[in-house]
């Protein structure tokens, strides 16, 4: 009994960290390769979560839809809508230098989240959307379904990794990294900086939307609480910095590692803190995670697995 409990704790840990790994890969495309400071991850994540939830739930009078579509259709809708939101933000903001982009993206993401909370006809507001299906729902029940969902999540992690690697190792990725390193020189070398930034932002946001959708299917219930910037934006940034910005393997490692530590700090604070503090424990955990990040960056300035140039494909003379 003990062991099966532990086993299924591990399963739910791997589901959650897989979703974080996808978010880290997306942020790595935007920040690691493109130098775009997206501080509004939670907004695009929320758009994707609600898109997939509304597409896949059974019809309900509490919120828009649902449209009863299969989960993969929901996830495609999540990618498309979050990508569109990213496109709109990028159109307004990518000309801005990185610190202004950060401020603008925080603001816009918060607006997106507020709209979602308040558009009760569409999202059922703070009461949330219930009865969100998982893929293969009819086939298996109970804990076997968790295992199947775990596999589903990690197939998507693998797909996101392959796409990220192809982007990174290609001439497209090389030009993107060149723009990140020196915008003026990239322009002088004939690169359409705005076009690359727009593409980068849209691709990253679309992948963030997929992660949002997966979270909705994981919990089968979605309320605005699941899109807290603290749990989405902040943690994902910590994960990427610690794992290795610019490196896709580092992004995945950061997602797994920091989520493991985050989960352990929960056990720690729940056992050690006096009960009246436990409600506020998440702030203490943030402090701990912040300290940890400081420590990691002191020891490994570019994260645990630093950025590396892709292999040169042709020996050529």
């Amino acid at each position: 009994m003990e062991w099966t409990g532990l086993f299924f704790y591990l399963v739910s840990f791997l589901i959650a960290s897989g979703i974080y790994a996808i978010l880290c890969l997306a942020l790595n495309i935007q920040w690691g390769m493109g130098g775009l400071f997206n501080a509004g991850i939670a907004g695009f994540f929320a758009v994707g979560a609600y898109a997939s939830a509304i597409m896949t739930t059974a019809p309900s009078d509490k919120h828009l839809g649902g449209f009863g579509m299969p989960v993969p259709v929901g996830l495609v809708a999540a990618a498309v809508l979050a990508g569109l939101a990213g496109w709109a933000v990028a159109k307004i903001c990518v000309r801005l230098k990185s610190d202004y982009l950060a401020m603008a993206s925080i603001g816009i993401a918060e607006i997106l989240r507020l709209v979602i909370v308040n558009a009760e006809r569409v999202t059922n507001g703070s009461l949330g959307i219930a009865g969100i299906p998982r893929p293969f729902d009819g086939w298996v029940q109970g804990r076997a379904a968790d295992l199947l969902f775990l596999g589903f999540v990690w197939v998507i992690v693998a797909a996101a990794y392959v796409v990220s690697q192809r982007l990174h190792d290609s001439p497209w990725g090389r030009t993107l990294r060149a723009i990140r390193d020196n915008e003026a020189a990239a322009r002088a070398a004939g690169k359409d900086v705005e076009r690359f930034r727009l593409q980068t932002f849209v691709i990253g946001c679309a992948i963030m939307g997929v992660a949002g959708g997966l979270t909705a299917h994981e919990f089968k219930f979605l309320s605005p609480a699941a899109t807290e910037p603290l749990m989405v934006t902040f943690l994902v940034w910590v994960m990427l910095m610690a794992g290795g910005s610019g490196n896709n393997k580092g992004a995945i490692a950061g997602g797994l590692g920091i989520w493991a530590i985050w989960s352990m700090t929960e056990i720690l604070t729940n056992q050690l803190l006096p009960p009246e503090w436990i409600t506020r424990s998440s702030y203490i955990r943030i402090l701990l995670i912040g300290l940890l990040l400081q420590f990691v960056l002191q020891k490994f300035r570019s994260g645990l697995i630093p950025e590396a140039s892709p292999p040169i494909r042709f020996k050529g003379d």
Partner: protein
Amino acid sequence: MISLDHVSVSFGGLKAVNNVSFDIPSGRITGLIGPNGAGKTTLFNAIAGHVPVTSGRVLLEGADITKLKPHERAALGLARTFQIPHEFSRLSVLENFMAAAAAPLGENVLNVVFRRSRFLAEEEAVTRAARQTVRFLELDRVSDEKAGNLSGGQKKLLELGRALMRAPKIVLLDEICAGINRTLLAKIADKIKELNTGRQLTFCLIEHDLDYVSKLCDNVVVMAQGEVLTRGSAAEVRRDERVIEAYFGGGKYEGRA
């Protein structure tokens, strides 16, 4: 040919370039000289589109390019280097050269995710050209080094190499020779001559070393305080009283009369 038609560039109240008109004739090597702060680099920035002109026009082969973005001017065959090196710091030296090349197939995001065979031939050609550039500039030993770790002189060579990777028609070189050793300097001068006579490339170069300018350039433009002071052959310009005054007169020059 590039024609400057009454070009002015102001930064706040400072007229860095003031009503400048001259041509950079095709197939020639034009020198641009003048004391520090004369506005030479600012003029290059205006030609390449990195700073907006306050007034006037920039023409390329007769077409008005004043409103074009830098990358659009680059696509027309204009290449420039930066006086203060602008390396892609986290890319290797080889990657810096590869990134500078035009690679329309490999820069198509759908191709790189879904249709990867489409850009292989292009990428092979880019790799080969980049390796040749590395070898020519004698950067073999640091080819895989991150460009941010290069020495000052090596970064200058990187600037030159990236401009050449563009396969340009017109090249603007901003003090490419500062801090580079003599033998390599001679080699670069030979290469510039060779590209000029062989491939009919047009050059405009800013240099402070008048001997180097005399050796390379068939015509020289002298700027001071944002204005064109005079132009002519290197020998003519070096004899000119006003030039000597501007260079050595220590501020006594009052050419605005």
